[in-house]
Amino acid sequence: MTLHICTTCPRYDALHQGDFAQSLHDEVEAAHLAPRYIACLGGCPTDGVVSLDAPGKTRIRFGHLTVADLPDLVRAAQAYDATETGELAHLSLPASLTSRITSVRPKLVRPATATPADQK
């Protein structure tokens, strides 16, 4: 399972920091999912942040999520797991999530050719 859940959201409400992850935690435990709890996924202005991420794959980040979105997130994660690259073009995401994509980061790959620092 490749769900990454932000443990800081909502960053700008100190009293409730961590509530988003806490609200998902009990549900994901009950569903026997195995997410990663990450300090911050860089989507703070759209708090309620989860990303799909895996080695060698594109990272897709969603914002403005709540615990009600968990079933769709699970379906998205399953679809993501079934792809080789995680690229959006190869993914069929639940409609409720497509409008809440806040970042698509291609997986970093090592450059194929060297770019010597002597030649810029």
């Binding site: 709890y37 990450i38 300090a39 860089g42 450059p111």
Partner: protein, 423 residues
């Protein structure tokens, strides 16, 4: 404040020991007495007898050294822009620094090398508060404001300006007088400024020589923001011990680094390049802007250079520049993932860079960074094997215990991570 256990005897039983000697992890126990590791692997029954010993069942979890961040900024306040580092009032800023220190330790970082402080005494005050056990945090080598020449400051409001050789000597003396552990020179640019470019060098040879000489006369090390090829070479020529970034190291600089590999460290702060390129859009710096500024080119060039440095045995340590909105505090272990995915490090090599070499850069190679008898008991217990998946070190719920100086900072049921009640 977390509740500290008494500094007595602790037996971590049934662990998978990743001792940072390079050995494959092995099953065993770890005995801690009076803040130090006294036995590893097979602990005689009689050594662990008595009513005064706390038994921790690791249940096969990985026991390893706490981690090191070689380019730490307690005072980088998760700002969405550079100027935000300077506008926070000092009172609030100190509180933020203490929170940063707490967060580092929460995430298993027990060793941190300060790379600059946004205000003159923030780092020093934090370091002292940690050493006096007034606030929780990693073992910390404090820095002061970075020194830059006129016209060469990345963030003027947090800079100590100095020009010429004598100006450098005076600046170093003033910072040494504050009680810092190292001096920072801001020698090259940073593309996000828009005006100071990464491949430009702003210090003269004489300025670097004077600053380094003055620091070394006082027994203080020097670190430098050195992205450009020339700044890297100046660093090596004048004995700068810790070279940050080194993005544009050229062939001559590579040879110089290799020749000096026993006395220099490179800490590239690779996540800054990745984050600025891909993760800053939410905070007003679109990817297109980052690419136009040159960050993709710098990242690709840096990756190739760092891979070559690694092949040549030059020490490359993880860490930095956490504390901007798109590289926030708490995400420190992303560096380890980048080391494996981008820089041709094996997971073991990345772990060694963050632990055993962490002890070296902390100047305590025989006390910090390994799980061996005699070493200080700065340990973490990880649910899983980071050699199989190094990303688990980014997940606080997988770091079940954090011990520093033989005391638990975090353990199940003993400390709640802020807002997230796990375990």
């Amino acid at each position: 404040m977390p509740t500290y256990t008494p500094r007595g005897r602790v037996l971590i039983r049934g662990a998978n020991i990743l001792d940072s000697t390079g050995a494959v992890p092995y099953p065993g126990d770890v005995l801690i007495e009076d803040g130090r590791i006294t036995a590893v692997g097979s602990v005689p029954q009689e050594a662990a007898a008595g009513d005064d010993i706390e038994i921790v069942d690791a249940d096969g979890k990985t026991v390893m050294s706490g981690l090191c961040d070689a380019h730490t900024h307690f005072s980088w306040n998760n700002s969405a822009d550079l100027d935000g580092l300077g506008t926070m009032p000092v009172e609030e800023h100190l509180l933020f620094c203490l929170e940063s220190a707490h967060t580092y330790l929460d995430y298993g970082y027990t060793m941190c090398v300060g790379a600059a402080s946004a205000k003159p005494r923030l780092d020093v005050v934090c370091r002292n508060a940690i050493e006096e056990h007034r606030f929780p945090g990693p073992r910390y080598l404090a820095n002061g404001p970075e020194i830059a020449v006129t016209g060469g400051a990345l963030i003027p409001s947090i800079t100590k300006f100095a020009d010429g050789a004598e100006g450098m000597r005076l600046a170093v003396r003033e910072l040494v007088g504050l009680g810092v552990d190292q001096i920072k020179l801001s020698m090259s640019g940073e593309e996000i400024t828009g005006t100071l470019h990464a491949d430009d060098t702003y210090f003269t040879e004489e300025e670097v020589q004077a600053a380094a000489d003055e620091a070394h006369r006082r027994g203080i090390r020097v670190c430098a923001h050195a992205r450009s090829a020339e700044s890297v070479k100046m660093c090596v020529r004048h004995g700068v011990e810790i070279i940050y970034h080194a993005s544009y190291t050229d062939a001559e600089g590579m040879d110089m680094l290799e020749a000096a590999k026993d006395r220099v460290y490179v800490a590239p702060g690779i996540n800054w390049l990745v984050g600025t390129l891909y993760d800053a859009e939410s905070f007003g710096y679109p990817q297109a802007a980052a690419e136009a500024a040159g960050y993709r080119h710098e990242l690709e060039t840096a990756i190739e250079g760092l891979k070559e440095m690694h092949r040549r045995g030059i020490r490359i340590l993880p860490g930095g520049d956490y504390g901007f909105a798109w590289t926030p505090h708490g995400t420190y272990a992303r560096d380890l993932q980048h080391f494996v995915e981008l820089l041709d490090f094996t997971p073991m090599e990345a772990i060694l860079a963050a632990t055993a070499q962490g002890g070296e850069i902390m100047l305590r190679p025989d006390e910090l960074g390994k799980v061996r008898p005699g070493y200080l008991a700065d340990l973490i217990i990880v649910d899983g094997n980071p050699l199989e998946d190094i990303t688990i070190l980014q997940d606080i719920t997988r770091i079940t215990h954090v011990m520093k100086d033989g005391r638990f900072h975090r353990a199940p049921g003993q400390h709640h991570y802020r807002g997230l009640h796990i375990g």
